[in-house]
Amino acid sequence: MFPYIPVSKNDEKHMLDIIGVGNIDDLFVDIPENVRFRGELKLPLQKSEIEIRQIMNGYASKNISASDKLCFLGDGTYDSYIPSIVPYLTSRSEFSTAYTPYQPEISQGTLHGIFEFQSLVCNLTDMDASNASMYDGPTAAAEAALMAFDKSKGNTFAIASTVNQNTIDVITTYLKYRNHEVLIIDQKDLRADLEDFKAKASKDLVGVLVQSPNRYGYLEDVKGFVEIANENKAIGVMYADPSSLALLKTPGELGVDVVVGDMQQFGNAMNFGGPHIGFMAATAKLMRKLPGRIAGQAKDRRGNRAFVLTLQAREQHIRRDKAASNICSNQALNALSSTIYMSLLGKTGLKELAINNTSKAHYLHDVLIKTGSFEKVSNGNFYREFVLRSKVDVKTLNEHLNKNNILSLKVVGTDLVQFTVTENRTKSELDYLIQVVEGL
């Protein structure tokens, strides 16, 4: 017997009798003998929970995590603090063991949560319409590029070279087999070069993607890029760091047509890169071109307010090969984490968090330069990530940090390193980093 399989040998016999066959093998006679697997899978036999825990702890013990050493890495994935109630609530199995809410009468918890998620995303970004989540930031950006091609006739999508490399790579993959072109915009001073975009933009353009704060941490002239795109009848897509939006100009204020990004930092673990959660919001005009699930408010027969999956005519299970996207499962439970996170931090909390992030980052930036070991490389304004030129060989620097219980920094050029600061790095941890650097 197996703990997850409640059918006993007696049950089995009873069921086989009713079916009218002699044994289990008789249920597989429809598989042609030539292809039938007759051996035993080369896997170990079943194990107890006790043994499983030991084996899995064996793998775990070979990792060095951000709990073991201080993390100053970013690049779209952040060591943000996860409030206790987030995993506590999302682990309620009424949420976690349900599936896509096809039966709204017994899925209001999920649907209600999605509606709140969409509302919070719209409010954070100043956009009109949000979907229920995407796999992650880069795939959300790729879907935004496909929306641009769906809307316009041209054959080129422009991407600033200051967008995270993974995002550029994923979009490139999504577009290449449809014979669409990607145009990369040059950079200057670690920021996208608007003049280069002006020179390259043409009627063949369907959209542009700019990330702000960008891959290095610096703010971009998003509005300038969107205006040039719109002049060419192309859409402007912004890749945003959600916590920065509590402080910085919103995609709506910047005139952006579609905003995408990743909300891992809102209540989700880093998980070595996944599961994270992509978000995507658009203007009302583009609402019916959004990919994926959308929850809407409705009324039941008794007049009660209720929520339901809506605008489904866009989706694969109805439109099949004409669907806006093939996405089916998304990151619903991660979206619920972000919903609870945004609700908990609330109106004042999220802004305080953004200020805490940026002022700590600026503190670290200034003190690091004062140590004499680093130099400033960009004149751009930054939110919580920045790049410095290391006077010490970067390999030596990272080895020194590692020895002192700090995770390796991201190296972004031969002598350039990136620092990322979240609210989860306390003042004493920042001072510790500075002290370690001074000991070089």
Partner: protein, 487 residues
């Protein structure tokens, strides 16, 4: 279920807070010094103002409006709603796995890379494929990745004209949608009356532009494709590749392997066959497997073992490219591998045996009361029809809604499209005889009501906290975000 419909915004009270930060002095800095004036937000951030206690009460109340596998029987066909073991959650939640930044150097993450490698090997063994990529985030994402590999394969041979993907009319909606997204045309072929692939129709649909066939086996009708050898031969002789939609893998573990059937590319849904929770619609994971000759096209980076060290190889000139941020939904892979080790080769075999046993038992008992359009030995699921003629005006939707009153999640309805008024039932192996019997009793009772009291079906559900929703009106005038009521 108790009634609750408050939105978090409606609980907001000015001045309440739910969270505080460390180093308050950093939260009170004048941030204007860091930015230009035109870089700052001027619109109001209108998030709710709520205390922690109330946030917890609100989401607890919402959870009470939901039905999951832990609540009760969830025979949602094609979705494999099996029990989600709790140890999986605990293992994946270990900070030594979950609290790792994806940009950490590989020396830091040898444990996770080792786990990913071992999980890939196990999946390759279970499916009979040569190489696995864990990168796709969900089943349809795996389809997209697999079809891009198919495209790359044909292009590498100079076969630019091979743009047609043949898909049976019984296929999941994601199949044609993924084909379109990866730059192919979809050619749909009609299935035979018994739901099997019509071999003659397949032959007729193949021309010089043929790229490949997407097949779910067992099919969405829960039937094993008996002509699989002939189909494989036809596809390969025509220069095409055979794609396996792994949504129904739970029926065949240790009985038959996609690789041995001749499939070239497959995807798996770890959230179906390998027990990870569905999360109300995700996160899932959709690893793909390929035969050796297609290995060079896999998304980069590829995980390799070099002596005793695990490395990520980005130097892959023929790779289709990256398909997702970093390496995949590794938190889900960790859960699935915990399950695979826990079950072992004997447990996985037994899981498929009982999944098929349970489905055949339910099919046999229910066909005495409901129309079973295709009456054959089934695999892990079967499809009933809710078509009772026009006498009572009863449709499948009414039966589904009435099942809610009995405390069950209904089967998948109106899919597959080739069965009129379809009800697709998949019990999975984690359901007991008693639990299935209760469901069967409810279905028999409902069958009686169709003749004696059809109104009770028309008005169902009557015990849930809300009744049926006007979905047409919701789509006509979409309200998809909360707006404060004008004072």
């Amino acid at each position: 279920m108790s009634s609750y419909d408050k939105l978090i915004f409606e609980l907001s009270q000015p001045g309440r807070i739910g969270f505080t930060l460390a180093d308050e002095e950093f939260s009170n800095v004048d941030y204007n010094q860091f930015f230009n004036e035109d870089e700052l937000r001027t619109s109001e951030l209108d998030f709710p103002e709520i205390n922690e206690t109330e946030v917890v009460r609100h989401y607890t109340a919402l959870s009470n409006l939901n039905f999951g596998v832990d609540t009760g029987f969830y025979p949602l066909g094609s979705c494999t709603m099996k029990y989600n073991p709790k140890i999986n959650e605990e293992i994946a939640g270990n900070p030594k796995f979950s609290h790792i930044h994806p940009e950490q150097p590989i020396e830091d993450v040898q444990g996770t890379l080792n786990l990913m490698y071992d999980c890939s090997e196990a999946l390759a063994e279970i499916t009979g494929m040569d190489a696995i990529s864990l990168q796709p985030a969900a089943g349809s994402h795996g389809e997209l990745t697999g079809l891009m590999i198919m495209k790359a394969y044909h292009l590498s041979r100079g076969d630019h004209h091979r743009v047609n993907i043949i898909v049976p009319d019984s296929a999941h909606g994601t199949n044609p949608a993924s084909a379109n997204m990866s730059g192919f045309n979809t050619v749909e072929i009609k299935s035979k009356a018994n739901g099997a692939v019509d071999v003659e129709a397949l032959k007729a649909a193949i021309d010089e532009n043929f790229a490949g066939l997407m097949l779910t086996n067992p099919s969405t009708l829960g039937l094993f494709e008996r002509n699989i050898e002939e189909i494989t031969k036809i596809v390969h002789e025509a220069g095409g590749l055979l794609y396996y939609d792994g949504a129904n893998m739970n029926a065949i573990m240790s009985q038959v392997r996609p690789g041995d059937m001749g499939f070239d590319i497959i995807h798996l849904n770890l959230h179906k066959t390998f027990s990870t929770p569905h999360g109300g619609g995700g996160p899932g994971a959709g690893p793909i497997g390929v035969k050796a000759r297609l290995e060079k096209f896999l998304p980069f980076p590829v995980l390799e073992k070099q002596e005793e060290k695990f490395v990520l190889n980005y130097d892959r000139p023929d790779s289709i490219g990256k398909i997702k941020n970093y390496y995949g939904n590794i938190g889900i892979v960790t859960r699935a591998y915990t399950y695979i080790l826990r079950m072992g080769r004997d447990g996985l075999k037994r899981a498929s045996e009982v999944a098929v046993l349970n489905a055949n038992y339910m099919q046999k008992r229910l066909k005495a009361h409901y129309h079973l359009p295709i009456d054959e030995l089934c695999k892990h699921e079967f499809v009933l029809s809710g078509n009772f003629g026009l006498t009572h005006g009863i449709n499948t939707i009414d039966i589904a809604k009435r099942l809610l009153d009995f405390g069950f999640h209904p089967p998948t309805i109106y899919f597959p499209l080739i069965i009129d008024q379809a009800m697709m039932v998949e019990p999975t192996e984690t359901e007991s005889l008693q639990s299935m019997d209760k469901f069967i009793d409810a279905m028999i009772k409902i069958r009686g009501e169709i003749d004696t009291d059809p109104d009770i079906l028309h008005t169902a559900p009557n015990t849930t906290h809300i009744s049926r929703i006007d979905e047409v009106e919701a789509a006509r005038n979409p309200i998809i975000r909360y707006m404060k009521e004008e004072a």
